[in-house]
Amino acid sequence: MERHENGWMVNDALWGGLLMLAVAAVALWGAAHGTGGQVSVWLFPRLAAVSLALCGLMLVGQGVRAHTRVRIWQDRMHALDVLGFAGAVVAYVALLRTLGFWLVTGLLLGGTAHALGGGAKPGRVWGWLAFGIALGLALDALFVGVFRVPLPGGALWGEGSWRPWVP
C-alpha cells in the first residue's frame, strides 16, 4: 500500500491476483492430499481451483502491465475509523461468551455511539454506556425471550441465569 496525495493507494489487480493464486494453491494442495473417495470427489474442487488460478494469473499480468492503483482509504482518519470499529467487533465476539450478549452489546453500542458520534465530553461516555446497556438488555429480552435464540448470558454471571425472560 502506498500513500499518495489523494489517499492510500494499492495495485488492485496485482494484489487481488496474488490473493486468488494463494487460495487456489491451498485448494489444489488440499485436493492433492485429500483422502478417500473416487476421482470425481476432488474433480469439482480441482476445476474451481484451476479456474481461480487462471483468473489470478490474468490479474497479476494485468497488474504488472498496467500499474493502475485504486484508493483503499482516503486518509489516516478514515483508516482509523474502520480499523477501530473492526477491532471493537473482534473484541465483541471474543468476549461474548464471558461477558454475555447484553453486556458486550451494551459496551459496543455505547462505546461506538460515543466514539463515532462526536460525544467528546468525558462525562457523556457514562450516559452512552447506560443507553447501550439498556438497549443490549432490550435486545436480549427480545431475542432470547421471544425468538428463543439462546444467546450467551455471560459465564461471569452464571450464564445470565438472573434474566427473567430466559425460558
Binding site: S40, A48, V82, F85, V93
Partner: protein, 505 residues
C-alpha cells in the same frame, strides 16, 4: 381449487396481510436508512424465517423486497443520496423537486410509481413464471450444469467493473461450496481438522458475512461525509395532484414497466440499470425535455416504477431456472433452499403450487399494501434518514451476530461470519464484488452433482459431445454463456458503468 385462485385468497387473508404490512414497514425503513440495502435487510431477516413456515417466510420477504425499493427514494429525494443503488436515477429529478419546495409531492410521486412498478412486476411474474418453469421439466443433468454455469458467468460479467475479477469471485464461491462433506460422496473436503467445518460453510452465515459486514464498515468509513437533509413539509391536496399527473401518462408507465420487467428477467443486470434505462427512455419520448434535470415528474416516475418492477421480475429466472437475477433474489433463493424447496417446475405442481402462487400474488398485492402504508409512513421515513451511523453501525452488526448465531447456536459461526465480512470488505476494496462469490456458494451444490452425473452419463454413452453439447437446451445455454463472456470482455455500456459508479458512491 385452482392454485392461482387459492394463492390470491391466501394472500388476502388477515394473517398474510399482517405479515405483508410488517414486511412493508421493515422494507421501507431498510431502504430509507443510509447505507442499508434490500439485500442486507433480507439477509438479516433470513435466520428468523426458520421459525416460520415457508409460505409465511416468502410473503414477509416479498413485502420487504418490494418496499425497500420505495424506501430508497426517501434519502434520494431529501438528501440527494440514493438509499440503495437502484435509486440512483431518482436523485436527479427527485432532489430538484425538493429544492423547489416540493419534497412531499416528489415523495408521493415516488410512492405511487413504486406501487405501480411492484404491481406490474408482480403481474409479469404471475404470467411468465409457469410457462418458463415448464421448460425446465425438459432439463437433464447436463442442462442443469450449463444453466448454472450461465448464471455464474452472467453474474461475473455484469457485476462490478472487471470480468476476470467477477469470474475469480464465482470460482472462489464454488470452492467455498466444496468445504465439508462432499455432495457426491461421503468424503470430507477442506475441513482442515475442524469438526465445525465438516458440515460445510453455512449459507446464511456466508450471506450475512459477505452482504452485511462490508456495508457496515463502509458506513463507518463514510461517517464524516457532510449530509444536508432537506426540510420536509406536507402539502395539502398533493395526493390528488400526484394521481392526476401519474395516471394520465399510461405510455410512460407502460414503457418504464416493460423496461423494468425485461431487465429483471435477464439475470444480474438489476435495478440501477433498469432505473437509468427507464429515465433515458422517458427523456427520449418526452414532449417536455427541457424539464429534465430541473425537477421533471416524468423523470421521477420512470426510474421509480422501473426499479420496483425489477424486484418481482428478478424472481422469474430464480423460481423457474434457479438462476437468481440479483443479490436480493439470491437471498430469497437461499431461503427457498433452506426450507427444502428447489426452484423449477416442481414449484408449480402439487402442494407446492399453492405456496408458490401465494408468494407470487404477494408481490402483486404488495403494490397496494405499500401505497397505503407508505402514505402514512412518509413522515417517519423523513426522520429515519437522520439516524446517525454511530448508532446504526453497531446495531446492524449486533443483528448480524444474532442472525449468524441463531443458525446453529454456536460461536464458531459468528467468527466465520466475521471472517467472511472482513474478507468481503477487503475484496471489495480490491474491486471484487460479493455477489459472484455468494452465487458460486449458492450454485455449487447444484452444479457439482449435475456435472458428476453428466460425466457418468457421458462415460456410459461413450460420447462427451452428445451429453454435454449436442442437446438443444445445452447448446442454447452454451451460446448464451459465450455471449455473456464476450459482452463482459468487450467492456461496458455507459449505462452499466454509471450504475456501478453509483453503487460505489
Amino acid at each position: 381449487m385452482d392454485p392461482v385462485v387459492q394463492g390470491l385468497l391466501n394472500v388476502l387473508s388477515p394473517q398474510y396481510l399482517l405479515l405483508m404490512a410488517v414486511g412493508t414497514v421493515a422494507g421501507a425503513i431498510v431502504g430509507a436508512l443510509p447505507g442499508f440495502t434490500a439485500t442486507m435487510g433480507l439477509t438479516l431477516l433470513l435466520p428468523f424465517t426458520f421459525v416460520m413456515d415457508t409460505t409465511s417466510s416468502l410473503v414477509l420477504m416479498s413485502a420487504l423486497h418490494s418496499s425497500a425499493f420505495f424506501g430508497d427514494a426517501v434519502p434520494a429525494i431529501l438528501v440527494a443520496t440514493p438509499g440503495t443503488p437502484s435509486a440512483v436515477a431518482t436523485v436527479i429529478e427527485g432532489h430538484q423537486l425538493t429544492r423547489k419546495g416540493k419534497a412531499h409531492h416528489a415523495l408521493l410521486t415516488a410512492l405511487l410509481a413504486s406501487a405501480l412498478g411492484a404491481l406490474m412486476g408482480g403481474v409479469s411474474l404471475l404470467t411468465l413464471a409457469e410457462p418458463l418453469a415448464r421448460l425446465s421439466l425438459r432439463f437433464g443433468p447436463p442442462e442443469v450444469f450449463w444453466v448454472g454455469v450461465l448464471g455464474l458467468t452472467m453474474m461475473a460479467s455484469l457485476t462490478g467493473r472487471s470480468l476476470v475479477k467477477g469470474l475469480a469471485g464465482t470460482a472462489l464461491g464454488l470452492l467455498l461450496s466444496t468445504v465439508g462433506v462432499a455432495h457426491v460422496e461421503n468424503v470430507v473436503r477442506y475441513a482442515f481438522g475442524l469438526p465445525q467445518l465438516q458440515g460445510g460453510v453455512d449459507l446464511v452465515v456466508a450471506l450475512i458475512g459477505f452482504f452485511t459486514i462490508p456495508q457496515v464498515l463502509a458506513m463507518v468509513e463514510r461517517r464524516r461525509e457532510e449530509r444536508y437533509v432537506a426540510e420536509y413539509r406536507e402539502q395539502r391536496g398533493a395526493l390528488r395532484e400526484v394521481f392526476r399527473e401519474t395516471l394520465t401518462k399510461p405510455l410512460l408507465l407502460l414503457r418504464a414497466g416493460v423496461v423494468g420487467i425485461i431487465v429483471g428477467i435477464v439475470p444480474a443486470i438489476g435495478g440501477p440499470v433498469a432505473a437509468l434505462m427507464a429515465y433515458n427512455e422517458a427523456w427520449r419520448a418526452s414532449k417536455k425535455k427541457e424539464e429534465f434535470g430541473k425537477g421533471s415528474i416524468e423523470g421521477l416516475i420512470a426510474p421509480e416504477l422501473a426499479n420496483n418492477a425489477v424486484g418481482p421480475a428478478d424472481m422469474i429466472p430464480t423460481l423457474t431456472l434457479g438462476i437468481p437475477g440479483s443479490a436480493p433474489a439470491a437471498v430469497i433463493m437461499a431461503a427457498l433452499l433452506l426450507h427444502g424447496v428447489k426452484p423449477g417446475a416442481g414449484l408449480f405442481t402439487g402442494a407446492s403450487a399453492i405456496m408458490t402462487y401465494t408468494y407470487i400474488w404477494s408481490y402483486v398485492v404488495s403494490g397496494f399494501v405499500m401505497f397505503v402504508i407508505g402514505y402514512f409512513l412518509i413522515r417517519l421515513l423523513a426522520q429515519v434518514i437522520r439516524i446517525p451511523v454511530s448508532l446504526l453501525a453497531p446495531l446492524v452488526f449486533t443483528l448480524a451476530v444474532i442472525g449468524s448465531f441463531a443458525v446453529r447456536n454456536n460461536l464458531f459461526d459468528v467468527w466465520m461470519m466475521l471472517g467472511f465480512g472482513f474478507l468481503g470488505y477487503g475484496l471489495r476494496k480490491l474491486g471484487f464484488e460479493s455477489g459472484p462469490i455468494v452465487l458460486g456458494l449458492l450454485l455449487g451444490p447444484i452444479i457439482e452433482p449435475a456435472l458428476v452425473t453428466s460425466l457418468t452419463l457421458a462415460e456410459a454413452r461413450g460420447s462427451w459431445l452428445h451429453v454435454f453439447v449436442l442437446r438443444p437446451f445445452s447448446l442454447a445455454f452454451i451460446l448464451l454463456t459465450v455471449w455473456s463472456l464476450v459482452r463482459g470482455l468487450r467492456g461496458w455500456s455507459l449505462m452499466q458503468r454509471t450504475a456501478v459508479e453509483a453503487e460505489d458512491d
